[in-house]
């Protein structure tokens, strides 16, 4: 690290849970609706309203905790975090303080040098989101802020890491891993632009060898993975410059400005908060027994790491291929279905990573929308394997399958594409090509072995691509050289 300083990073992620309704009331969590069209007495903070906990949010929290190796608290409490802000209807946020639902977890990340590093997860807890503040952009509302409470009371899971990361790269690796897991579990849609997966970074520096942590600054408003690197690097340099210049790093919140790549202090805009946490008397303790934990554990899907390992060890894929295919759950499921049907996992992998992903990129469809299902794809692969068609013809068949949704067999039959493997028929074509190209025959016999490709091409052309290339090759050589 620069100038003998070590970077220390801890990350706080707020993941919005994809339940249908809010955490403490029955309003919809759907994004992008008319302001204040998804509200009720509870999420508006009307006098007399009371919260009731959405059971599915607890289930999602347990699921996420298990997937990140946390201990699930047998008893946890909700607490009020008291502060005043226009997007906070009750003047307090219902969160968890002393007894969070998950604690003491970890995630292993892959470092660039191939090693893995374990990043600790201090805790994960449930809380409600605040509403949204918008700035008036019409002439009449230019000097105002506008409060939309649709988002108020949306369930959040706040996941806090230990300050175990030592570089922006490690931070990104951790975030990507966590992001992948919550999307895999189906508990969060991971949409950073829409704000359903928010990251705050706690950054500090200390001289190498020092045991104590330096004072940390909390960086907010980082809404894409690439900004993380920028923000952290800027902040580290800022802190080092400050310390070297004899100053002290202040414990404060700093906003990241993606236009300038800098962080700036939020102090002066808000005073130091005394949140006055106390257990929320409107909610009762959450008791999670071992039976419930095991029941949720039974619903966990195979997670990306386990999938990657299985793809490599049991299905023989390369590490790279395994990583690509395991990254997205739907894609992994697609691949698994193909591998089950086709038995040749490697060929499936090649076709999916090559042709299927290419088509999806072209059309903008998701794997779930792909017109060529695992059944259809493996049907095509089977026709290559049994030499009905060549690999080259198969590419154009695939194209037609994508457009029409028909099976390989239907297209092969309709277009008469069956590969010619009848040696007699191929011999005829070989003889014709040899007779038509005497100069090349001489050159080939004179030692230009590469010309075999020329002859193969000619035969394939003459057969409209239907001749079995292997056979063509064999017969050509025999006819040309007598071997």
């Amino acid at each position: 690290m620069m100038q003998g300083y070590e970077t220390v990073i801890g990350l706080e992620v707020h993941a919005q849970m994809t339940t249908k309704t809010k955490i403490f009331c029955g309003c919809s969590t759907e994004f992008g609706q008319t302001p204040n069209s998804q509200t009720c007495p509870v999420c508006l903070g009307l006098p007399g309203a009371l919260p009731v906990l959405n059971q599915r949010v607890v289930e999602f929290a347990i699921k996420t905790g298990l997937a990140t190796n946390c201990q699930i608290a047998p008893r946890s409490l909700f607490a009020r975090k008291n502060y005043f802000y226009p997007d906070l209807p009750k003047g307090y946020q219902i969160s968890q303080f002393e007894l969070p639902v998950c604690e003491h977890g970890w995630l292993d990340i892959d470092l660039e040098d191939g090693k893995t590093k374990r990043i600790g997860i201090t805790r994960a807890h449930m809380e409600e989101d605040a509403g949204k503040l918008m700035h008036g952009d019409k002439p009449e509302t230019a000097g105002s802020s506008l409060v939309d409470l649709n988002r108020a009371c949306t369930p959040l899971l706040e996941i806090v890491s230990e300050p175990d990361m030592r570089s922006p790269e490690e931070a990104i690796a951790y975030l990507k891993k966590l992001h992948q897991i919550v999307v895999y579990l189906g508990v969060c849609d991971g949409n950073l632009e829409e704000g359903s997966f928010r990251c705050d970074a706690n950054v500090s520096v200390r001289p190498y060898g020092q045991a104590e942590f330096g004072t940390r600054a909390e960086l907010k408003n980082i809404n894409s993975f690439r900004f993380i690197k920028q923000a952290i690097e800027y902040e580290v340099e800022r802190q080092i410059d400050l310390i070297e210049g004899g100053g002290k790093v202040l414990q404060e919140t700093r906003l990241f400005d993606s236009n300038t790549g800098m962080t700036r202090s939020m102090r002066g805009k808000e005073e130091a908060h005394d949140y006055r946490y106390f257990p929320d008397p409107d909610l009762v303790p959450l008791v999670i027994g071992p039976e419930w934990v095991e029941q949720v554990r039974g619903t966990l899907p195979e997670l990306p790491d386990a999938k990657r390992t299985r793809f490599v060890e049991e299905l023989g894929l390369s590490v790279y291929d395994a990583e690509v295919l395991a990254a997205d759950r739907a894609l992994a499921d697609y691949f698994d279905a193909c591998a089950t049907l086709a038995k040749d996992a490697k060929t499936c992998a090649n076709w999916i990573m090559g042709d299927v992903l290419r088509k999806l990129k072209e059309t903008g469809e998701s794997i779930a929308e792909a017109p060529v299902s695992p059944q259809l794809l493996t049907g095509l692969l089977a026709r290559i394997a049994d030499h009905t068609i060549s690999g080259k013809i198969a590419k154009s068949v695939f194209e037609k399958m994508w457009q029409s949704g028909q099976s390989a067999d239907q297209i092969i039959a309709a277009d008469g594409l069956k590969q010619v493997t009848d040696t007699g028929a191929i011999e005829v074509l070989v003889d014709e090509v040899i007779a038509a190209n005497p100069d090349q025959v001489s050159e080939y016999l004179g030692g230009k072995d590469k010309l075999i490709g020329f002859f193969v091409g000619k035969v394939m052309q003459a057969s409209q691509g239907k001749a079995n290339p292997g056979m063509v090759n064999q017969l050509l050589k025999k006819k040309l050289t007598g071997k």
């Binding site: 029955g26 204040n36 069209s37 009720c40 000097g143 802020s145 506008l146 409470l149 805009k269 009762v284």
Partner: protein, 95 residues
């Protein structure tokens, strides 16, 4: 003194209550007297006593993840002091 005027002023800011000088004076005296009175709790030995979070022991009150009808924007905004663009309007907040 159990509480100083400066502390009372600090608390008033936490509680977002603008207090006049006269109010600050009288509140300081009143809070001082009350805090003095509640001091007696310290004489009770509560070592090992579990605090009562709820008067009647209860746990796990849930609702299912099902949408329930709520307000229209008009209803939500009906009591608002100031409304614009289907939202509650306040003076501009600079972040």
């Amino acid at each position: 003194m159990k509480i100083t005027r400066a502390e009372v002023e600090h608390v008033s800011r936490l509680a977002r209550l603008a207090l006049s000088e006269a109010e600050l004076d009288s509140l300081t005296g009143e809070m001082d007297a009350i805090l003095d009175y509640v001091e007696q709790l310290k004489t009770l030995d509560t070592e090992g006593i579990v605090p009562t979070a709820h008067a009647v022991p209860m746990e796990n009150a849930f609702r299912p993840d099902e949408i329930r009808p709520g307000f229209t924007p008009e209803q939500a905004l009906a009591n608002a002091p100031d409304v614009a663009e289907s939202a509650f309007r306040v003076s501009r907040i600079i972040e």
